[in-house]
Amino acid sequence: MPAPSLNVELERAELERAELEQIELDLFVQALKRRHGHDFSQYAPASLTRRVRQLVHAHHCSSITGLTARLLHEPDFLPLVIKGLSVPVSEMFRDPQVFLALREHVLPVLASYPQITVWQAGCAQGQEVYSLAIMLEEAGLYERSHIFATDFNPDALQRAQEGIYPARDAQLWSRNYLLAGGSQSLASYYSARYDFIKLDQRLRRNITFANHNLVTDKVFCEAHLVLCRNVLIYFSNPLQNHTLTLFRDSLVRGGHLCLGLRESLDFAPVAADFSAVDANLRLYRRSSQLMAEARDGAA
């Protein structure tokens, strides 16, 4: 054990180092916002810090300030930064029980609309969009459906449109698909080539991929289902509430909202406008006019 005085020294040095990094991080976030209009100021700090450090490492900078300098002076650097800060990690039919619930409880409601609009926000490389398309297809609803798949990471969107994935993922995804109530084999929706699988491009026919930033962009469609999973997990409470407000405003009354399994409405005031269909699966509905009135009346 170091002597007590040494310990005090150590602690002071450590706190100074931490404070310096915090300053650098704040300046980086500010540069990103002022120079490029990308606002990460309300992302949950722990994960953001981790991603920024990874960027420093990946681009061989000596500090976060080195990143900031490149961000300010090199026009081509922004896409690399966005790619590094976005976390386009996904699976087809991730959490199969959720997709099973969508299939069993939400699709029958969607079936009552002549035209169905779905917004999938934070679509990453498209794994969940294609999962939705397959489910709608199997329910005989896809012809009258349209899915908006949005993300703020252009690289991920590009990959999503291509629908090409490493073959090693196919096994897990096939299992997920079956657990989610799939009636075929997932393999009937893709062709395998060497180390890759390519999803049937016909699945793309009713999907629009678009760049949309949940922090700065507005509502653009009237949706019957909004699926946004494992995106809010990266947002601080106020940004989470902001985003959920977007979803509320996009949803028709009675429209469904599906979040990630570890996300919840608990910290968002706008939760009052939703009711739980299955709280464990994070499946909610925008309250209908009647329910809203009953609630306001009771309050």
Partner: protein, 188 residues
């Protein structure tokens, strides 16, 4: 010396048995927050449920956006990385697995080191991969204390050995001695 504020424990293969022993021998008066990342944790609350009956301290699964509590063992849920914000609230992420693992010990250790600085004890127990070694090095860099289970004493030696190789340790002990050490460091 100031009392440590938190203990972060990482383990993988053989981890359940090791945790049973370790948590079971911790003093129920420990005021520290205990954070546990065990790769074999599955979906929802199974591991915390199983461990609760072996521990004098309360054992719960860490919940997103909820505070880390003193005198409580928090287990990282399966499928997500567990991180801490500076206000000692939990955050989860689905970032890529690290060393094929999510939750990853490196991620938890590094984030806890950011929050507790010199007031953190990192403990690497039995396991069959190298996760945790870099995280432990970061804990040391930040002035925290590193404890590693003696590889010969571990059900799987790879993980504690990697921790010794990459980070080194302030203490390298068999499991039974680790509980004694933690009680000593944390209560005096």
């Amino acid at each position: 010396m100031a009392q440590p504020e938190a203990i972060a424990i990482g383990c993988s293969k053989g981890g359940f048995n090791a945790l049973k022993l370790l948590l079971g021998a911790l003093d129920p008066r420990l005021p520290q927050t205990v954070l546990v990342c065990c790769h074999t944790a599955s979906g929802t609350g199974v591991l915390s449920g199983l461990l609760a009956s072996h521990s004098a301290l309360p054992v719960v699964e860490a919940v997103e956006r909820q505070p880390a509590a003193a005198g409580t063992v928090h287990i990282a849920p399966g499928g997500y990385h567990l991180l801490l914000e500076h206000d000692q609230h939990f955050a989860l992420s689905v970032d890529e697995p690290v060393c094929f693992s999510r939750p990853s010990i490196d991620v938890l250790f590094s984030s806890a080191a950011d929050v507790y600085h010199t007031g953190l004890i990192g403990v690497v127990l039995t396991g069959a991969n190298r996760d945790g070694a870099h995280g432990l090095a970061q804990i040391r860099d930040h002035g925290g204390i590193a404890v590693v289970q003696a590889p010969a004493n571990a059900e799987a030696a790879t993980m504690p050995q990697a921790a010794l190789d990459i980070s080194g340790a302030d203490y390298c002990l068999p499991l039974e001695k680790i509980a004694q050490l933690l009680n000593h460091l944390c209560l005096t």
